[in-house]
Amino acid sequence: MRTITYRDALREAIREEMLRDERVFILGEDIAGYGGTYAVSKGLFEEFGEKRVRDTPLAEEVITGAAIGAALGGLRPILELMTVNFSLLASDQIINSAAKFHYMFGGQPQIPLVIRMPGGGGAQRGAQHSQMLETMYAHVPGLKVVTPATPYDVKGMLKSAVRDPNPVLFIEHELLYNIKGDVPDEGVEYTVPLDRGEVKRAGQHITIITFSRMLHVTMQAAEDLAKEGIDAEVIDLRCIRPIDIDLLVDSVKKTNRVVIAEEGWKYYGTGQGLAALIYEFAFDYLDAPIQHVHGADVPMPYSKSLERLAMPNKDAIVKAAKAIVPAVLAHT
């Protein structure tokens, strides 16, 4: 084991997959000589050359369509879209083609395609550069949507995504690239499945379900709660389509209380979808209404003082948890 950044873990996964399988290549805007807007692909152009590390025109629709076509033609593209916000220009290709071809064409073609894209707010990039749009894609059957939050998971999940025969939307977060975490030594092969969440902190009083950057905020909230005698179990979904519903139900059976913490908007999103699933499959085990911590229902404001108000934080999670854990339970 060693400690590396989320960015380096991503780069290692891409590099190892490119070394393992010559059909794997990467394309995207400014990913070659420049090394990618978030420096994820730095050095890969020098190592693999322009054929397998392709700088593309700024044209999300065609580069996404071309990645689908390349997958149909027998390759395994990893496409980097500069941010999830820009993927809206490619959403026709993602939703109308990539998600549907396998089913619509009667199981004939496979689309082994990975689309990497960072999303999220907190860096004062304003309304058009701060969205969490993973929910929108998670609505669509035929897509896999994953949101790894740690260096270990991001490396293992990217490797799984490259080897998967389906289109995988690989949602990173702009504020995660510099975080550090334990990752097995280079050359030590491991993968992380694309359909399993993970208990990141075991607890008995309440289950807090989260994903992406909010995992780290939630872990801090759990520490605060522990000081007040509330023992929180933290579940990182890691993937939001498919949903690892069994893991959630098992935890609810133990804690009987749920907080869902996400950065995205309130209505019709991942959080509300999860709440509906838990009510459907674990209603009898709930001792309190599910609490939902989410981003404000507004386009992201620019000013630091306003952006802070629009994003969910640790205190909101602590407050939500305390609202449904009776004092008598704490310290038990």
Partner: protein
């Protein structure tokens, strides 16, 4: 012809030429009959959904696909039956797909507008106008990256010229010299509106801005289509990059089978003029007779063969079973 060719070789060439044109004649006729039957199925309420008929445009799919190999790629459109058949799809399985039967190319899950046939290099129709332009271009990218000598053809209509992605793909294909031909089937109507009301400037000038050569072809003249396609395909195969082929044509039916009152956007006289003076099947037949390559008995025989094949295919599909209920949740993921 070179001086060294023997008289026998000449005769063989002539035979080959005759066989080639007759095969194309038969294929155009198959598509025509297929579409007539589809129309009848729809009008008699035996076919659901939507169908956009290719009648009148047959020379383009057949002429272009005759210049392709089986392992070359095509992408198609909502008006795609002709492309599928020309690339080698079977009539019976096409009917089966249109009727939503298990024996269809997509096991009844695609329907008229969404047919793919991997075995013949048909990567799939896309019912989003312009939707397959990027995909065809990516398939061409895969060809180049794999070092293969295949070629990709992207069929689309005049309506797709309104989509920005058409220009994005030409930029990319020219930049990286992809082996792809963009074949525009200009049937004059963007659905229910003449293209001149929606499309500014010179259609044939568009690709030049990207350094992609354009050839304008009479899309009713299959010999012109085939000759041009052959040239552009050979060029692409040799690594000389993409081309744009503008085929002027006409669609005999409405935008789709239900579009029967067309007087508000085009006249009956206009339709008649194309059908009687510019019909691609008749034009080829006239030329074949003129060349002494055929006679009426041969035409008769082809007609009977095609009719029998289409009728048998339709019957097969009508009698074929629907998909098993369990299919509804199959193949969402590979």
């Amino acid at each position: 012809m070179s001086q060294t060719e023997s008289p026998k070789a000449t005769a063989t060439n002539k035979d080959e030429e005759q066989a080639r044109w007759l095969a194309m004649y038969e294929q155009m006729l198959t598509i025509r009959h297929f579409e007539e039957h589809v129309n009848q199925l729809y009008m008699t309420a035996r076919m659901p959904g939507l169908a956009h008929l290719y009648s009148g445009e047959e020379a383009i799919a057949v002429g272009v696909c005759a210049a392709l190999r089986r392992d070359d790629y095509i992408t198609s459109t909502h008006r795609g039956h002709g492309h599928c058949l020309a690339k080698g799809a079977r009539v019976d399985r096409m009917f089966a797909e249109l009727l939503g039967k298990e024996a269809g190319y997509c096991r009844g899950k695609g329907g008229s507008m969404h047919i793919a046939d991997q075995d013949t290099g048909n990567l799939g129709a896309n019912a989003i106008v312009g939707g397959s332009a990027g995909i065809a271009t990516g398939a061409a990218m895969s060809i180049k990256m794999r070092g293969s000598d295949q070629v990709a053809v992207c069929f689309f209509g005049d309506g797709a010229l309104g989509q920005g992605v058409l220009y994005e793909v030409m930029n990319m294909a020219a930049l990286w010299k992809f082996p792809i031909i963009y074949v525009c089937e200009n049937n004059e109507y963007n659905e229910y509106t003449h293209y001149r009301e929606t499309t500014a400037g010179d259609l044939s000038a568009r690709s030049a801005a990207f350094g992609v050569p354009c050839e304008t072809v009479d899309g009713q003249d299959i010999r012109a289509v085939y000759d041009t396609a052959q040239r552009l395909v050979a060029r692409a195969r040799q690594g000389e990059g993409p081309a744009f082929m503008l085929c002027n044509t006409y669609r005999y039916y409405g935008h789709h089978v239900g579009d029967i009152q067309r007087a508000y956007y085009r006249s009956k006289e206009e339709e008649e003029r194309w059908k009687t003076q510019r019909d691609p099947i008749q034009l080829l037949a006239d030329w074949l007779v003129e060349q002494g390559m055929t006679d009426h008995t041969l035409f008769e025989r082809i007609e009977q063969k095609v009719q029998a094949e289409v009728e048998a295919g339709e019957q097969f599909a009508l009698n074929a079973p629907f998909p098993d209920p369990g299919e509804v949740e199959e193949d969402v993921y590979a």
